[in-house]
């Protein structure tokens, strides 16, 4: 499928889920869809449908109430897929680190590929992050490394045994 994977970097479809962040990142995602930054230049669309999405854009520190929804969304997305954690909350919970209802970052629930720093990251940072994610996505599909390289712990965490 080498021919097809050539084009994959030009059409990343995004699924966005807020797992308990402060909205700041979500505002910036909307701003990135807006005319000034216009992320559709890279072919990116906000699909809102896990079955047709390639990049899962997670904002927020993952509260305990959101955890299962996030896991389900990740599993519903067809391979190959990339997870981007946006903002400081996505990396270890940010300012909400070690609060009682917080899971301390996206990486404790699903494997993350790209972290975008900032609170909140501005649209330029988001574009940088998407570009980085596309690179990793391309590599992933070339290596066919799907979920095989997940650690056993992670697979158990996700609640799946095979694939």
């Amino acid at each position: 499928m080498g021919f097809f994977s050539k084009f994959r970097k030009k059409s990343p479809w995004i699924l966005h889920y807020n797992t308990g962040g402060c909205n700041g990142c979500d505002i910036e995602i909307l701003a990135t869809l807006a005319p000034k930054y216009d992320i559709e230049r890279f072919g990116a669309l906000n699909r809102g449908n896990p079955k047709q999405a390639d990049i899962l854009l997670v904002t927020g520190p993952v509260t305990k109430n959101c955890r299962d929804v996030l896991r389900r969304l990740y599993l519903e997305m067809p391979e190959p897929k990339v997870v981007v954690a946006m903002g400081a909350c996505g990396h270890g919970g940010g300012v909400f680190r070690h609060l009682y209802n917080v899971e301390n970052g996206v990486d404790n629930i699903i494997p993350v590929d790209v972290w975008i720093p900032g609170c909140a990251p501005n649209p330029r940072a988001l574009i940088d992050g998407i570009v980085e994610a596309i690179k990793i996505w391309e590599k992933k599909s070339k290596d066919k490394e799907y979920m095989k390289n997940h650690s056993k712990e992670m697979i158990k965490n996700l609640g799946v045994n095979d694939d």
């Binding site: 807020n18 308990g20 909205n23 700041g24 807006a34 959101c66």
Partner: protein, 361 residues
């Protein structure tokens, strides 16, 4: 189409920027019953504010309750803590606070209005509305150094000053913005299909608004003139000539129009504030530890935000209670759906401009 279909709306949905779940029972796409779950975003900030953080930097946590109204939370907290510490911010700091607060209100309202247009299927109106918002975002980035979390409040003043050149720049940009906002206001006001989609939807009468204690633009769209800026003294709003904007229609459309009117009024307020910007310090030193209790009401973009602070003379506060606008608007939102079409549910939710991260904290 006579069968009952249960339609979930959230917690992940393209029309929702935040997780909140509505479960609609529909019959012929008419909603007959609704279940709401608002607890997805609960992080436990009130607990952290009284255990993990000292009173000097708890505001960094509290501003991150919500990205839209971050400056309001900072305001609510700092006005309270300044009362407890018995310090008074200098006049110039108060004016700078006012400018940032109103700029924040402008960007929040513009986005909220545009989002209503977007979920009504009016993509172009969304783009036109959000296009102008970038001017405000640039201003905020220039003044505070960040686009969303400004962190400009500090106990006894502000962290950054507005220089003369910046003041001129703000003035120039805001005058430019005003023309554009008026143009978009015209679209919201006169657009036929947008009116079809929004007029008469989810009507709240003045009596209901009072009974359910509705706050913010939603209340003002029903003719209830409530606004913490007028009902509570916290920033020099009297000096810049604040007036409450109201409509009487009480539907989705009126909420949009009220927000747009407030945007225009906010621009006027900022222009006046910049003209009267007093000279002097931007920060005063404070001493001691917070002791006693205080009640603060501040006006967030979505309505009145209430803070209760209690200190006991130590570094860590004893109780921080945050009551946010959406928290008091959810009860009436829940009542509104029954009898409306499913296709109108999204504009109704978004016209409330719900802020779940505030509500659940």
């Amino acid at each position: 189409m006579g069968n009952k279909i249960v339609v979930p709306f959230g917690s992940q949905h393209i029309a929702l920027p935040e997780p909140v779940s509505f479960l609609f029972d529909t019959k012929n796409e008419i909603i007959t019953n609704v279940k709401v779950d608002v607890g997805y975003v609960h992080r436990g900030i009130e607990k952290a504010a009284i255990t993990k953080f000292e009173f000097t930097n708890v505001s960094y946590l509290l501003t991150r309750i919500c990205g839209f109204c971050s400056i309001t939370h900072a305001g609510g907290y700092h006005h309270g803590i300044e009362k407890l510490l018995d310090v008074e911010a200098p006049k110039r700091a108060e004016y700078i606070r006012l400018i940032i607060t109103e700029l924040d209100r402008i960007h929040s309202h513009l986005l909220a209005n545009a989002h209503v247009a977007e979920v009504a299927g009016y993509e172009n109106l969304f783009m036109q509305g959000v296009k102008d918002r970038e001017i405000v975002m640039d201003l905020l980035e220039n003044i505070t150094g960040n686009r969303i979390q400004y962190d400009i409040y500090t106990i006894g003043g502000v962290r950054r000053d507005i220089s003369k050149e910046t003041a001129e720049y703000i003035k120039k940009q805001l005058l430019k913005l005003k023309d554009k906002v008026l143009k978009v206001y015209d679209f919201y006001d006169t657009d036929y299909t947008f009116g079809l989609k929004t007029k008469g939807i989810s009507y709240i009468s003045l009596d209901d608004a009072k009974k359910y204690n509705v706050v913010g633009p939603i209340a003002r769209a029903s003719g209830l003139a409530t606004d913490a800026r007028a009902e509570f003294d916290y920033l020099p709003y009297d000096e810049v000539g604040f007036e409450i904007q109201t409509r009487t229609e009480g539907d989705v459309w009126a909420r949009n129009i009220v927000r747009q009117m407030e945007v225009i009024h906010s621009i006027d307020l900022i222009l006046r504030a910049i003209d009267n910007l007093p000279e002097g310090d931007i920060k005063v030193k404070y001493k001691g530890r917070p002791k006693g209790e205080t009640f603060v009401r501040v006006e967030a973009p979505r309505g009145e935000c209430f803070y209760y602070l209690k200190g006991n003379g130590t570094k860590v506060l004893e109780r921080v209670r945050v009551r946010v606008p959406t928290y008091s608007n959810i009860p009436i939102l829940k009542e509104l759906f029954v009898g409306e079409k499913y296709s109108d549910a999204q504009p109704i939710v978004l016209s409330f401009d719900p802020c779940m991260s505030c509500t659940a904290r």
